[in-house]
């Protein structure tokens, strides 16, 4: 099988048409609904999904929902509003802060962090992430908590299992609260919820079950992130959104997808995911990507482990006896 650096290039016009047909058929024919709800994050995935939905269903049939909370990056809302204006769609804004406080999201997370570092208080910004040397050495994944004080000084703590799971469980309430709001509007207007997960995320379980994974359709889950960029350019998504560094935007300190989970830039990640999926010989991958076979094997091992750890995410219907 062929493999080169441009292997993921697609015919943007044809692919847009194909996706739009899918959205239209699913919403209007298969599910017999009247339109679509998209949670707009100010990032490229939701921007592309919104634009495709508008193209498929018409701007009057698409509702964009902004779901900020007190720790969201303010630029998320700014870019979201910019996109909605450009697309000409109706929008709703729901501040999730109060709901998350009622659920104990911040409190539960902060209790875990205080156990790790008693000095922590709400003046600190925090994020978690993996070490970035995935290709350089054999290693076992471990998350670190980074705390940044008001002076900008950073402290890092390796997380124990309890620390990691406690922080993630509390933080995932953010995505799940977003899902509840999206379904409120979907049911209110007889719409479907359109998901924004791409293949690079889907393949490794980089989404929250019943959170951003809790949707009716996933129209871009077959597209690598680099293909998302191609279609976004084709559909004239605002340049600011295309240039924005992808981030889950669930921590008070800005953390990129790469820093948080993938440990390599998307262009490299996508080619490696493609090569692994299509069983391209290691020697060929090595030659095209200018990586050693050892480095490629390390990356594949990491993908496999992330896949294994997230098997349950893909299983939406519960197992029946």
């Amino acid at each position: 099988m062929d493999f080169h650096k441009n292997i993921l290039d697609i015919n943007s016009e044809k692919e847009c048409e194909r996706i739009c047909e899918f959205i239209k058929e699913q919403v209007f024919t298969h599910f017999r609904r009247e339109g679509a709800v998209v949670g707009i994050s100010g990032g490229i995935d939701s921007a592309l999904t919104s634009a495709l939905s508008v193209r498929a269903l018409g701007k009057d049939k698409v509702l964009g929902v902004f779901l900020p909370e007190k720790e969201s990056n303010p630029i998320s809302l700014t870019y979201g509003e910019l996109l909605a204006k450009k697309l000409g769609i109706r929008t709703e804004k729901v501040d999730l802060t109060q709901a998350l406080e009622s659920l104990g999201c911040y409190k539960k997370r902060d209790e875990v962090i205080k156990k790790i570092s008693p000095a922590y208080d709400s003046s600190y910004k925090i994020k978690i992430g993996l070490p970035q040397d995935l290709l350089e050495r054999d290693r076992i994944n471990y998350f670190s908590l980074k705390m940044i004080n008001p002076k900008g000084e950073e402290k890092s703590f390796r997380l124990s299992k309890e620390g990691l799971l406690g922080i993630v469980a509390a933080t995932d309430m953010k995505q799940r609260s977003r899902m509840i709001q999206l379904y409120y509007y979907a049911e209110k207007y007889n719409y479907m919820v359109i998901g924004t997960t791409n293949l690079s995320e889907y393949a490794q379980g980089f989404y929250v079950k019943f959170g951003d994974g809790g949707v009716d359709l996933e129209p871009i889950a077959h597209l690598y992130k680099t293909q998302v960029y191609q279609l976004a350019k084709f559909l004239d998504i605002p340049e600011e959104i295309i240039k924005r560094v992808p981030s889950p935007d669930t921590f008070s300190a800005v953390v990129s997808d790469q820093e948080f989970f993938f440990c390599m830039p998307y262009d490299l990640l996508d080619l490696l995911l493609y090569a692994q999926e299509n069983k391209i010989p290691l020697s060929k991958v090595s030659q095209v990507l200018n990586l050693s076979e050892e480095q490629i094997t390390r990356a594949y091992r990491d993908f496999d482990q992330k896949r294994k750890a997230s098997i349950h995410l893909n299983q939406n219907a519960p197992n029946l006896l």
Binding site: I140, N141, Y142, R158, S160, A309
Partner: protein
């Protein structure tokens, strides 16, 4: 209790709850065989730090030290010898 026996007991009791009779080969990779995932490794690290009073440094979180019974025993012996 010998290091190997302690490790095997810990792994059986914490990671093989659904398969108590599963035998683990001495050089079997925990991660590749799916016995332990990377979150489980953190639990294992916590266990060996507390049990053997050693500090596992970030750069020591590598398969060569932690990803089989054999590697773990060698790692614990090396570290214990250094701190003794």
């Amino acid at each position: 209790m010998a290091i190997e026996e302690r490790l095997r007991t810990f792994i059986q009791n914490n990671f093989l709850l659904g398969d108590k009779n599963r035998a683990i080969k001495e050089d079997e990779s925990f991660l590749q065989s799916g016995i332990i995932d990377s979150t489980g490794v953190l639990e294992l690290v916590n266990f060996i730090e507390e049990t053997y009073k050693i500090k596992v440094e970030d750069e020591e979180l590598i398969p060569e030290n932690l990803d089989s019974i054999k590697n773990l025993i060698a790692y614990i012996q090396r570290k214990s010898a250094k701190t003794a």
